[in-house]
């Protein structure tokens, strides 16, 4: 027996959630599938593989104000930004939820990033297990899986006429009104079969491959745009700048990418990562070598977005495979 919610009850419930908090869910915008703030439940898309952009925007916005500086009568005051409203994200896939858990490592490591912590504390995740998968998906090779309940508050799995509901945390419990769930004799559909990527031992192989010309050859093709970083649920580099208008000053942080030229160039001109190959290597080393060393987990969760979006087919699955097989020149 499983806990069950009918499609009709789900819509009613989402409508209630929308009244009391921000409800964020997949929507169709032109040809894209994007997580958007929902004004009417009819806009929610239920039938999808995964969204074009990751839901990281809702924990770690592409741009956000860290604090305001107000200057009045010779006095300066700092006013930190505060996240007021609770948010529920509906339809997050297990891979993306895992992505957020990965971002917790750098952002919540003490001293924690205050805004990120506020977003995280005030956001509940209602996950949707994957019934189908994109050809580029490989989450099961990266420590998660299409039905992974590990990082959501409630996981829903679609079955005939409704969803199996797994309530996994207190936060999830608090979202549900009493008696909304019934029990039903339904069982979970099989998880989709995903392509296998040989991620075992990749950190060590990445270390061995670090000085190989492989990266320069790969960078021949890379155009060094920021697409991979910005569609990625676990890329978290940022830039910080001040904005000034008549009234006040804001300190704003925005996403940045290690791929952009000048990312590491310091005032005065020195750039420790000036070649295309070293920049490209940084992205993959961060995910597959540095992140595991720092936090004990891979920094890629296998959502496949970078594979889909890269204009020149830099394919992390192929890179992992190639690095595993690379014959490293022994140092003579």
């Amino acid at each position: 027996m499983s806990e069950f919610i009918s499609k009709k009850d789900l819509l009613t419930w989402l409508g209630q959630l929308m009244e009391e908090r921000n409800l964020v869910a997949p929507t169709r915008v032109d040809d894209l599938l994007l997580f958007s703030k929902i004004d009417q439940v009819e806009d929610i898309v239920f039938d999808f593989d995964n969204t074009t952009l990751s839901p990281k925007e809702w924990f770690y916005p592409s741009s956000e104000t860290l604090f305001y500086v107000e200057q009045k009568d010779g006095q300066t005051e700092l006013i930190p930004a505060v996240i007021e409203k609770e948010t529920a994200i509906f339809g997050i896939r297990p891979c993306d939820a895992q992505g957020m858990a990965m971002n917790d490592f750098p952002f919540l490591e003490e001293p924690a990033d205050d805004l990120y912590r506020q977003h995280r504390d005030k956001t509940a995740l209602i996950g949707l297990a994957c019934i189908t998968a994109c050809p580029e998906c490989f989450c099961s090779s990266m420590g998660s899986g299409p039905h992974d309940p590990a990082n959501v508050d409630i996981l829903l799995t679609e079955v005939a006429d409704g969803y199996i509901a797994q309530v996994l945390t207190d936060k999830g419990k608090a979202l549900l009104p009493d008696n909304l769930l019934t029990t039903a004799d339904v069982s979970s559909p099989p998880a989709p079969v995903l392509s296998e990527v040989p991620s075992d031992g990749i950190a060590e192989k990445m270390r061995q491959a670090f000085d190989e010309p492989f990266w320069d050859r790969l960078a021949d093709r890379c155009i060094h745009c920021n697409i991979c970083s910005y569609v990625c649920p676990t890329c978290y580099c940022f830039d910080v700048r001040d904005y000034t208008d008549k009234e006040r000053i804001e300190r704003v942080r925005s996403w940045e990418s290690c791929q952009s030229p000048g990312f590491t160039r310091i005032a005065g001109g020195h750039d420790p990562r000036s070649t295309k190959g070293s920049r490209l290597r940084q992205r993959f080393s961060h995910k597959l070598l540095y992140f595991p060393r720092q936090f004990g987990a891979l920094g890629c969760i296998g959502c496949g977005r970078c594979v889909r979006a890269c204009p020149v087919n830099i394919d992390i699955r192929e890179i992992i495979q190639d690095v595993q097989q690379l014959e490293v020149k022994s140092e003579a």
């Binding site: 700048r241 001040d242 300190r251 540095y290």
Partner: protein, 277 residues
């Protein structure tokens, strides 16, 4: 007392602004909140972010020592937008200070040893607190040799202190410039060749160097030639950084972050880094 949010600066006041060179000024800063000021402790080698509100913030090595209880000094060279904005401030201005960040020179481990300070240009600034500390506790340390180099005589930082340094016991000050002028009677030589010429002895010694990457590179070669082991050579690195907390993911060299694993590294540690700096 730390604020909840490590990205929030402490409001601070620019107490005094001193011209060190044509493009370097010394900023004497005092944190406004007396409680925070009281608890604000730092060690030689650590750095702070200084905000010019409305433009942004940048990291700077602290040049003062905490035990003088006289606020926070940073020497800032005018090179970019933030440093330009800071240079235009007047005493009394409100700035932001965030920190202190990073590791520090383990001066306790250097007690009883001869210390060689080798700094080039503005890279000399973060080495000054070592000198101050050694001179304040002179009997704790061995000989002190200070090599301060710059492009030209007017670019040598901390000139008003040269006489005090040179007159201190067991202390030698060597100034050098890449190009002199009509008033310059001192040395005209590159820092690495001064290191070589002075025949610094690695016996019971520690060499601490900071400056442009090219200067560090050749200084390192000379020190090794003189017999210094990599764990006797210490440097402090610079990296583009936005947070100081290992979160903005910019200043990493391999899996180490300059902001929190550094900025102070021994050559032994640097040679073990995955990525070249």
């Amino acid at each position: 007392m730390k604020p909840e949010n490590p990205l929030l600066p402490y409001l601070s006041t620019l107490q005094e602004l001193i011209d060190l060179t044509p493009d370097v000024k010394l900023f004497r800063l005092e944190l406004n909140d007396p409680d925070i000021r009281e608890g604000f402790d730092y060690k030689p080698g650590q750095f702070v972010f200084v905000s010019a509100f409305g433009v942004g913030e940048s990291p700077f090595g602290i040049t003062s020592v905490a035990h003088h209880k006289a606020g926070v000094d940073v020497a800032i060279r005018r090179v970019g937008t933030v440093t330009n904005a800071l240079h235009q401030l007047e005493p009394g201005a409100t700035v932001g200070v965030r920190g202190p960040f990073g590791n520090y020179f383990p001066l306790d481990e250097y007690k009883g040893k001869n210390i060689f300070i080798i700094g080039g240009g503005i890279g000399f600034a973060p080495l000054r607190p070592i000198i101050t500390t050694v001179l304040d506790y002179r009997e704790d340390y061995g000989d002190l040799v200070i090599i301060n180099g710059a492009r030209s005589p007017q670019d040598l930082v901390f000139a008003p202190e040269f006489d005090t340094w040179a007159a201190s016991p067991k202390t030698k000050l060597e100034l050098t410039v890449d190009a002199g002028n009509e008033n310059w009677t001192g040395r005209v030589a590159l820092i690495p060749s001064v290191v070589s010429e002075l025949k610094l002895s690695p016996q019971n010694a520690i060499a601490i160097t900071c400056g442009p990457p090219i200067m560090i590179h050749f200084t390192l070669i000379e020190l090794r030639k003189l017999g210094f082991a990599d764990n006797q050579i210490i440097t402090t690195l610079e990296g583009k950084m936005k947070c100081g907390l290992g979160k903005c993911a910019r200043c990493n060299v391999g899996d180490k972050y300059v902001c929190k694993d550094g900025p102070v590294f021994s050559m032994e540690q640097i040679s073990q880094l995955i990525e070249q700096f």
